[in-house]
Subunit: 147 residues, 2 copies
Amino acid sequence: MSDSKKSDIQIIQALRNKGYKATPQRITICRFALSSREHPSAQKVYSEVKKIHSTVSLSTVYKTLQVLKELGMLQELSSSLSQTRFDPNVKLHINLVCLQCSTIEDLDDPVERELIRRISGSAEFTVTEHHLDVYGVCRKCKTKAKA
Amino acid sequence: MSDSKKSDIQIIQALRNKGYKATPQRITICRFALSSREHPSAQKVYSEVKKIHSTVSLSTVYKTLQVLKELGMLQELSSSLSQTRFDPNVKLHINLVCLQCSTIEDLDDPVERELIRRISGSAEFTVTEHHLDVYGVCRKCKTKAKA
DNA sequence: CTTATTGCAAACACTTTGCACTCTC
DNA sequence: GAGAGTGCAAAGTGTTTGCAATAAG
């Protein structure tokens, strides 16, 4: 089980390991960003964290999300939605982006692995990261549309 | 051969078919955007078109690129690069994005089709479009790095 | 006590919009 | 000649940066 849910202690250690200080703001931001499954935007993280830490600034949120990316604990998704979204699932996976409600769902498919393996195999291009973003309408919105 | 290279006459017809006027600016923009294989940004299209049509504005370029998207003649790529890039190849394909030189290359792979077919098959999500963006270092930059 | 971090405001880059003038059809 | 399109400048986004005050180690 490589659960992405991290305890505060794990978060603090991960930060300190790389020489980052474990400030209360950072811990709160990390706690939310690393446990959320809704692929939050920076704004979303900000408004959630603000509930707990009313003085936190958006710029601290942006900076902390960059730190988490650097630590490899967060993936940045540049979808065609206006805002960048963040995903604590850093494993190989597909993002299902609903164009109606902006929900992003994760999906696993072994074929994807095969695909990337093949691209990496052809010595023409060295793959460092990749995103498979699929756009459409999710089940919820489809059901809603019928009504 | 469904060549993406369009003649001026084809461009004019496509525009008029949908009620758009075929202005010289538009034709010049289309001519470049639809034949370029370098996945140009709006800025790039602008500076190329400016060579021919010195008074063209960036806003006209943006508007025309939207029209071309609407006509299904152009695909918008929201990569993690700062600027949106446009691709006249609207068929199913993979984008190889070089993080060093910002070059984007198209790649075809039948596995991709299978992948999308499978996602569409599971009635959970209705796929309308998708992008498979692979990031890394292209052959050119790799060779350069060795030197 | 040193140094990183915070939070604010200001700067940024890309894209979109409002509007008077112009050109297509 | 009617209405869409142009080009300008101005507004809008989301994100980043500079810096004095603050807090972590």
